[in-house]
Symmetry: D2
Subunit: 361 residues, 4 copies
């Protein structure tokens, strides 16, 4: 089988580089276009990442493949979406608002931007959680007259929360969610991202817009698609989002009120078995487990657990009864914000949409 050609837009940025890493050597997808701003256009990718002292600003742990480094960078404005199976975008909300519809008129767009995340006809997928929202793509195409579509991923902080709530909601009904996040610095990118002077020996208790995003997205993702729209899940979510001196991996302390009583063992079982159907498909970017349960009281820890299953498994620990909420449970999770929470999660979404016939045929 020949591979499906894809483009990465915003390829020189941190999130774009993560798409490069997530797609390098992919068995079904092949990068044929690397797009960035006009400033980088025309250079080879490897040169575009190099500063005038010769330092290579490549920020992934995985090495930059030579063949990718040698590819030319194309102006994102000039990208012709035709002939591409899919376009991965890693750009800010503002340019996304302009570029993504232009691409989507022709081709599926898998996006990390928030520009269209809250539109009624736009699904926000988390692998294993809400595949039943796929039909909203048809609505979107019909509404907008596009051959392609836009499928934005959720905010990285939403991913671990909604993913771990999903099995609880299915099994016991979620009634109320309170969450405090301790987010890593990579979530803020590098331009300038988190300044060392602000975070060493410190916690910053506010991340602009983050709490609203998580509160709204979680309910949308766990909502039910009825007719042409999603009814958000019928439980309130309250977050306090903070930044801590951690490089990668978001930690979240979650408190949940359930509709029906659940023992800790039953909750553990629901989480541990979650996503079996997805995992059975053996998709290239899928982890062995969507949720890894730890019984070590000191886990999960971002440094030790963020890379579980290549950064694609969310680790849950400290699962215990909550004394303050009816049918209450509480737990701590660690989710890799720039793997499952960003590019690699988006690639897994693309793989799912390929199986469902929305990409590549």
């Amino acid at each position: 089988m020949s591979k499906i050609p894809v483009a990465i837009v915003g390829a020189t940025g941190l999130a774009g580089q993560q798409f490069v890493a997530a797609l390098a050597g992919h068995p079904e997808l092949v990068i044929t276009q690397l797009c960035a701003s006009a400033r980088s256009a025309g250079k080879r990718y490897g040169e575009a990442l190099r500063d005038d002292r010769g330092a290579l600003h490549w920020y992934c742990q995985e090495p930059l493949p030579d063949v990718i480094a040698a590819m030319p960078v194309v102006d994102a404005e000039a990208l012709d979406p035709k002939g591409l199976g899919c376009i991965f975008t890693a750009i800010e909300a503002e340019p996304a608002r302009v570029l993504e519809p232009r691409y989507a008129a022709e081709t599926p767009v898998i996006s990390t931007a928030s520009a269209f995340r809250y539109d009624d006809d736009v699904p926000v997928f988390i692998p294993g959680v809400n595949h039943d929202h796929t039909r909203l793509i048809d609505v979107q195409r019909r509404n907008r007259g596009w051959r392609g579509f836009i499928s934005p991923g959720p905010n990285c902080t939403t991913v671990g929360l909604a993913l771990t709530l999903a099995p609880l909601h299915a099994a016991f009904g979620v009634r109320r969610v309170i969450m405090t996040s301790m987010q890593s610095c990579s979530g803020a990118g590098r331009s300038p991202g988190v300044v060392a002077l602000d975070i060493i020996d410190n916690v910053v208790p506010f991340i602009p817009k983050e709490e609203d995003k998580v509160q709204i997205e979680t309910r949308k993702i766990l909502g039910a698609l009825a007719g042409d729209r999603i009814t958000p899940a019928d439980f309130p979510v309250s977050c306090t989002c903070t930044r801590v001196p951690v490089l990668e991996g978001h930690t979240e302390a979650v408190f949940v009120e359930l509709a029906r009583p659940a023992t800790v063992d039953a909750a553990r079982a629901a989480m541990a078995g979650f996503g079996a159907e997805l995992l059975a498909q053996g998709l290239p970017s899928a982890p062995r487990r969507l949720i890894a349960i730890s019984d070590d009281p000191y886990r999960p820890q971002p440094r030790l657990d963020r890379d579980a299953d290549g950064g694609m498994a969310t680790t849950v620990g400290r699962l215990r009864e909550d004394p303050a909420l009816p049918n209450g449970l509480k737990y701590v999770l660690v989710s890799h914000n720039t793997k499952m929470g960003a590019a690699k999660g988006a690639v897994l979404t693309a793989e799912i949409l390929m199986r469902k016939g929305y990409i590549g045929k």
Copy 2:
């Protein structure tokens, strides 16, 4: 007025050093005895802190006064409590269980240990919060036949929580409390305390026994003394306590359900005005404000706010409505765990008990 002589037991440890710093130059109290284990006994205090390379293991920001450094260290086992106005103890729970009653038979003991914190006839004071529990000291004396008494301070993580809940409880009634802490490394002391390999680029989501302590103590401190015992406050408290790479200052994300609706402005006013009666007394170790309110969305931060009012003010920020709880409020607080949360807070408690006639006669 001549100063009241006091002893510090456990004087060479980290918490004991903080008592030395908190009492150095005190206008009403004077350290006359420094006690430690038999190993240090007989040395001068300054020598007992020095290792065999000559390095001084003094860990407070304040300099070690020469006059204190020259004082002899006495074996804690051999301390004669008679003639002392008060004994400050900074020792582990196990030796506290033996030594503190022995001292309390004669003399008031202000303790940082948890050994007696949960006994029915033992009050746990937070300055400004529960002075009305003072009468429990009389009960304790009567029960135990002591001339002195034991007054342990709360766990350092309880202090900021109970202190900020107190004005809300008084004004609006607290119904439910959910809290996630991001605690500093100094809370674990130095023997060995938090090992760098465990906490750099990391969060550790568990601190043994901490959550139980905070959950129980908060309700005791905010409970009502009726007859000879305290009825714990009638609301559940649920905590997840974590450790973060911060040197000093505990950060807590608090979510509160109230009995009666409170606007953010009303809650802010209740907090900002809290403790006026105490503050009006002008006690030597009292801050200007018990609770400092910040309207900067990025505050409080432990590095920037822990030293507010000499580490004796708790800073509250991000005060806002909580969308997930009835009459819900949420906020973030920073409290200095080794100042207000430990020795300096204990000294302020002693000052209050002096005014009430329980110390110094």
Copy 3:
């Protein structure tokens, strides 16, 4: 005596704020003008530091005085230097190249920029080290036809090195210097400064241009003024400058070859007594000691020693013989890069120049 009016140019930046802190409450100097770019001009200083969420971007430990916050910000381009006793500039090299000569035509300019640091007729002062270079100001005025002059301070990394070499050079003759710095993040400022993702759990072994600056400046500062120019000190200096995860305070490991043998005790005595003449003047910003010697083998440490004497004393420790260099000595120093190494050091230089009649008449 009425105070001398001064201006701060670049007042909204990190270094400019440090000038504000260093000059607030100064007994002899008073800030009458705060200048910044056109973008801030017209706003009150307190407003210019506030972002659109209301957060105050004031980065000094010292509080921002209300009276300063209320002052209007003036466009640096429009500053009229007349009537000012002195202008402190905290701007980048490029604008400095344009603005500083314009100001210096009328008024003394004390600068933190490197723009004129390497000009033959421009002295680079370190308090206590090279007051005898003051005469170069006369040369500069004559050469350039200015009523004022430009006096740039050295790079922050040079300060501790040249200051500690000065007494060794005077007493024993320096023959060769090898130095490795471990520099704090504040040295890079905040725009964007050091990004957290680059420095947590890391060392960055290169700081652009830093090594050349230190190597050249050290020899200039310790050079001899003969006729109208300085002959650089006749010893080679070799540096490797690195960045470490430290907030404030540069640490430097220094290896020195001397012309004449020096015992460790003799070297310690030379350093400890250094600057007595300057210190005897009792200048407002002067420390008690220029060099504080520590005999604790684990000192100096940046977190513990950077604030010695208000950040104006350089702490030297680990002074010992060097086995690899003839008449070799080695030691470690900590110098506060944004106090003595920047604004506060510049203010002390101004105080010295006031005493010598170069400022304020």
Copy 4:
């Protein structure tokens, strides 16, 4: 070929665990005995690492193999060395002084302890550097009447230094070495190792005994074996060893005076080609390169480069002329202190000694 049975002594400690990780799945060596103190003896290894809360204190990135976890722990005092091809010891100097000779009477001992490192008849190997010292093993056996021998590895800080000096010494002659290290926290182990309160936002400029070790070992390792003893290399070495807030990987800033002039290119070539003979043997634990050269001015960095070639390659960057030393060169290196610098380096040494017939016959 059947595998050679080996024992690990001190198997439950941090360094011992690293031996477990380095030997798990080894193609030629198989762990048959895990030894520790009497306290752990009798437990299964996996249980011995577990605390009373059930947390597993396994500190390697590599997972603990189930088959190893199930092995019984033997009292190190009771270990019978007969029948073992080799014993790897990861214990403190004091017990090593007793146990290692007892084992060595029968069996080769590859040690990380310093107990015998400085004895005249004991070689200190760095792979690729001083295989010609192997003959000292024969001397040692003869002197001591042992069937086995003791082969201690160098201090972890010595490894990167001596390894990178070796090709320079061979090609150009080293005359003088000055080095400042910025060492990671893992070098201090975990009992208690570096306390977080000491190192966050800090540098500690002293590590007891470290400088002497590096200075002496470097000269021994690069010395010439003549007759029955090594003549230390005839150049002085001066170090300042510091601790920085880095988890793994030692960074060293090196300044070298050479006997003969070397261009930067010639030095780079000598380093890059170093160890070809060793590498050609294709030993299981050998890296692709002993020294990896980086031309990125910002490299090497410990976080980015410590894991080069599985932590077995030393990365050298910033190679440039030194202006202060005759025929001077300077560079920065990063070496993984707990891989090449400890257990995995010791295993590679064992592999070399197997090829030479000293182990396994």
